[in-house]
Symmetry: C2
């Protein structure tokens, strides 16, 4: 059917066909209880028969909501486009869109320049989006703080800010740190390094605490020479690994705070002639698809990212509907592959 042949375009058209008013059609299509079952069924059947779709912009205007959620993430502008941080994004998007479409919401992509200060107005005041899902690894705090101040409806991936009352979904990072470290200890490793993300992030701090707790529990010493940090970029993984090897040449394992940095660290270890996991065992974090694709396959802490995406969407919608603030934490799981 060509668009041009389509004759039933507005509720007015449906009303004419059904011999009722457009108020009645509107109620029938919105499943209003104010209407008789008979009329409702008849009208819905007609709508289905003619493949009728409500006009969404008109509905938005009337309802004063857009039924659209914006997915917000920092992106750097490079030559021809934005460079989007990490594969993490793509995996979380799958869960988000699944949950949104079940609630009949749409997803708008907002790749924002870290320097752009007008995106919020652009999306919110213009009635384009009802709420925001924030997912931005670096310099997240200031963005969240800004959003919290405007009291725009949003949810973040990561720990909530202490002074504000907003929705969040996060991993249980303490447990994640414990699981990784325990596994390495069980494999007979004793000089276990910690290669963190940004040290000012609460996620990273919790993982470090899990690491320390477990070492302590096993009677192993916590050696500052075995601790260093990267910035989640691929390059920083190798740099930090090199730094660790210089500081503590006798290390026999490393717990890395992201799969991407872990893979970079493994590449450096290969170059230096270390065997993985024999000489140095490596555990990553996130369980992205690439963890199965690298060589050797990466042992890592799974964050159940599709579930995270689903909860980000569902809990934000719940907040929009009822103002309920939720802060959920997803239990991590150890996934053993070849690297440790």
């Amino acid at each position: 059917m060509k668009m041009s042949e389509k004759t039933v375009k507005t509720i007015q058209d449906v009303a004419r066909l059904a011999g009722v008013s457009k108020s009645t059609v509107s109620r029938a299509l919105n499943d209003s209880p104010l209407i008789s079952a008979e009329t409702k069924n008849r009208i819905q059947a007609i709508a289905r028969q003619y493949d009728f779709q409500l006009n969404i912009p008109a509905q938005c205007l009337s309802l004063k909501e857009s039924r659209t959620i914006a997915f917000v993430t920092h992106a750097c502008y490079i030559q021809d486009g934005y460079l989007v941080g990490s594969p993490f994004l793509l995996e979380v998007l799958g869960g988000i869109t699944a949950a949104l479409s079940e609630s009949r919401y749409d997803l708008l992509m907002a790749f924002i320049d870290p320097k752009d200060t007008h995106w919020l107005q652009h999306y919110q005041d213009s009635g384009r989006a009802d709420g925001f899902i924030l997912m931005t690894s670096s310099r997240k705090q200031s963005l969240v703080r800004k959003l919290a101040k405007t009291n725009a409806p949003f949810i973040v991936w990561g720990n909530p800010l202490p002074d504000y009352n907003h929705c969040s979904v996060t991993g249980d990072d303490f447990t994640g740190g414990k699981l990784a470290t325990q596994h390495l200890i069980k494999s007979g490793k004793r000089r276990i390094a910690f290669l963190g993300g940004m040290p000012d992030e609460p996620e990273v701090q919790r993982r470090y605490e899990g690491y320390c707790f477990t070492l302590h529990d096993a009677g192993l010493e916590i050696d500052p020479a075995l601790v260093t940090y990267g910035d989640y970029s691929f390059e920083s993984g190798a740099d930090a690994m090199q730094h660790l090897l210089e500081q503590a040449p006798d290390l026999d394992a490393v717990f890395v705070n992201s799969d991407l940095m872990a893979i970079s660290a493994m590449n450096l270890l290969h170059d230096r002639g270390y065997q993985i996991p024999g000489d140095v065992a490596v555990v990553g974090y996130d369980d992205l698809t690439i963890a199965e694709q690298c060589y050797p396959q990466l042992t890592t802490i799974s964050q159940n990212i599709p579930l995270a995406g689903r909860l980000l969407a569902q809990n934000l919608i719940q907040y929009l509907r009822s103002n309920t603030v939720t802060n959920v934490s997803i239990p991590p799981k150890l996934v053993v592959r070849k690297s440790a």
Copy 2:
């Protein structure tokens, strides 16, 4: 500034402040030539001062366009969400959003189930999206054909269908195949295998022709035992590689039709104890970020994906505005790293 404190919410409010009618405000904000420069500047200044944003749904309703493009891709529903095919998507999205935002368009994500037949109505008849960007590696043909029949405005990544007149952006696959093969020959390889994507895809056929052309040109024979195909999945790379090794144990190089399959093939080669590129050299296709992250770093054919994304967006918008059908082809480039 809290949302609740915001007082200037409609053009009516701006009109009051400026002492003009809302028609005039509308014209000023839309940069209409019908208005005096003085009035225009004054009104724009007021709008800026109060951070005024036009209500987009209302504008859409009036203009009968949504200024929104839907990015359509197949996705499989798994446990908690959709599994989105490839990292290729994420990279092309960067270019698309950059170009769209310059033209003040928004991007809607449409992950559609291959079985879902209603998504077009859902997005188009409802006034949610003005046009579609199609990017779906597998079973693309039927989707494109369906879309072409409805004469919905769309653009595809890939070769255009022969019988329809629609927009497309594609790589120059013949040249890509030539560049890869030439490089391998220049490195002294003589038994060069071809590991293709789906054999019914024109892209794959063009690459194969480039491969044959180059072998022939160098006086090398085309051996069917050196040719096989995968389906772009990670697993299929290793499977196809194994098949090649059985059919032609003396092969000394392989040209793989995607980076993902190339990495999978390299992993298999590692497992079998082959040195890369010494024993077997590997060239991939696409130049995704992972090509720099795998070990050894992958020599590959760059498709300039951010540019592709940019052109997909720009040419679709051009089509929406002026009905100009464009079919552009992006020149590929050889990127030499460690694997060949």
